[in-house]
Amino acid sequence: MKSTKNKLGETILAYLVLIILSFLCLFFFYILIVNATRSHADLQKGFSWLPGNYFLENLKSVANDGSFPMFKGIINSLIVSSCSAALCTYFSALTAYGLYAYQFKLKKVAFTFIMAILVMPTQVTAMGFLRLMTNIGLYDSLLPLILPSVASPAVFYFMYSYLESSLPLSLVEAARIDGSGEFMTFNRIVLPIMKPAVAVQAIFTFVGSWNNYFVPALIIQSKDKMTVPILIATLRGADYMNFDMGKIYMMITVAIVPIIIVYLLLSKYIIAGITLGGVKE
């Protein structure tokens, strides 16, 4: 009897904590959306819980702002993130398959090496990276933000674990007997089997790249090549007090909301993917 009562109390407490935390998670974004729909004059009067009708005006003024080319930034970010996600997942899968399906002398060494650099922060090589990119003429271009994603140890490890659990080597043997070339086997047979793993990692790599700020901030100099996070940083660095606050909230909205929408659409897969892989930035 006592235990049932305790359980009820615990359940109520659990709901209470969950509701408070959910409120905390959504509250700030709610204010953001509300404020993005209000005019500068309205915002100066104080806070309101209800949205205004200035959404389109704010969106227009963000779109027409030459000093903060937000929409150009979104296009740049889209290019960088899509290319990174594609390169990262394809080559991680290829590397994982190479180490999983073939027997060769340096196999163990290669595997151990990748595991050793699994969580190495990118920041420690940033100085040499910046110098190298400057020397080979890639400074202030989008390529240095894309190409390094070919070597992503964490994504590799995810792909490797996935192969271990879902690719019988007999399948590869069978393909060989049917006369399929090794690359053909990978592209036509292995990759389709790995589709769920590739999808999860593509999402995480895309988001990680979309949100990445440290490396782009070092490499990108000119306005028309800036990605969204650098534009946000520039906005912070500017004398924002003289700005139209409605426009500032709209800029943040434009940076955040696309990811929220994608997340809500794919949340089932993303939540399932967290424990399997992880977020690699």
Partner: protein, 316 residues
């Protein structure tokens, strides 16, 4: 037997071909930069105006100078900022993971709550920081709300005090990471055999005892893994404090983190100092990586090995 070996050998070259792009990219974009970073850490090499000074070999002078500089204070800041984000994060995550996995509680809408608490993890950290900056400014909506419900008469200058700024950074890190940790720990708890919990219940074990005597010891490997990856992430803390304080680490550089310090050296093109600072960071993260390596590659015979939880992400 012999024939089979030959058969394998003929395919060995494909193994090398398939892993080549990875190692090539790693070599160009990580290894060469790393070697370069280490090399110039022993040189006096910086830009003064448009003039480039050096490179002149000066041995360990950069390292010695860094120890005398504010680096130690920035390391302290980084640690404090990490701790005030991590403590609530791990406590809440343990609590939630325990509730979510407790079959006796029958919590509804688990998926819904999971989606919400994980949401902040995917938000662009720099935009999130910019949002907090706007919301918590003296004439921002938070002050407006606090004043309208009568909690304060004058606007609070959150970002004017050390405590305020650090708390905001801690709050952001907490919000961004507790959902992720909850889901990780949930997976760990669900990996425990239900028989153990059933046996405990038959023996009259209460929720409290159950948590401390069964759940906690059994998920220890994953807790340790979470802790170390979080420290590695904390060491890399940059986006949030950088944007919130506009790279200044205000007030009085009490929110300046190590990576912000590195960033400022890189921006001013002081390659020598940036190199030495990177080497310090490299050594510390190298030691931490070693622990992660040990944990992901066995070595311990614990039941719940965090094998599948490879995370290379920025975690704070």
């Amino acid at each position: 037997m012999n024939k089979k070996k030959q058969h394998h050998l003929s395919y060995a070259k494909w193994g090398y071909i398939f892993i080549l792009p990875f190692f090539l990219a790693f070599f160009i974009f990580s290894l060469i930069p790393l070697v370069d970073t280490v090399r110039y850490s022993f040189y006096e090499y910086y830009r003064s105006g448009i003039k480039e000074i050096g490179p002149t070999f000066i041995g360990l002078e950069n390292y010695a100078e860094l120890l005398k500089s504010d680096m130690v204070a920035y390391a302290g800041n980084t640690l404090i900022l990490w701790v005030i984000g991590f403590i609530p994060q791990i406590v809440i995550a343990l609590l939630l993971a325990n509730w979510f996995t407790d079959v006796r509680l029958k919590i509804r809408g688990k998926q819904f709550f999971k989606i919400i608490i994980y949401l902040p993890n995917l938000i662009m950290a720099s935009a999130f920081a910019m949002l907090f900056f706007a919301l918590f400014s003296t004439n921002g909506p938070i002050n407006s709300i606090l004043m309208s419900i009568g909690l304060t008469d004058t606007p609070i200058d959150f970002m004017g005090t050390t405590f305020g700024t650090r708390s905001l950074i801690g709050l952001m890190n907490f919000l961004m990471w507790f959902g992720n940790t909850t889901i990780m720990l949930m997976a760990a708890i669900m990996g425990i055999s239900p028989d153990i919990f059933e046996a405990a219940e038959l023996d009259g074990c209460g929720s409290f005892r159950r948590f401390f005597s069964i759940t906690l010891p059994l998920i220890r490997p994953i807790l340790a893994y979470t802790l170390i990856t979080s420290i590695i992430g904390g060491l890399q803390m940059f986006d949030v404090p950088q944007i919130l304080t506009n790279g200044q680490g205000n007030p009085d550089r009490t929110s300046m983190t190590l990576i912000m310090f590195l960033n400022s050296h890189l921006k001013s093109r002081n390659y020598g100092m940036a190199g030495a600072l990177s080497v310090y960071l490299f050594i510390v993260s190298g030691i931490l990586c070693f622990f992660v390596y040990r944990m992901t590659n066995g070595g311990d015979d614990s039941a719940a090995k965090p094998r599948k939880h490879a995370k290379g992400g920025k975690k704070a």
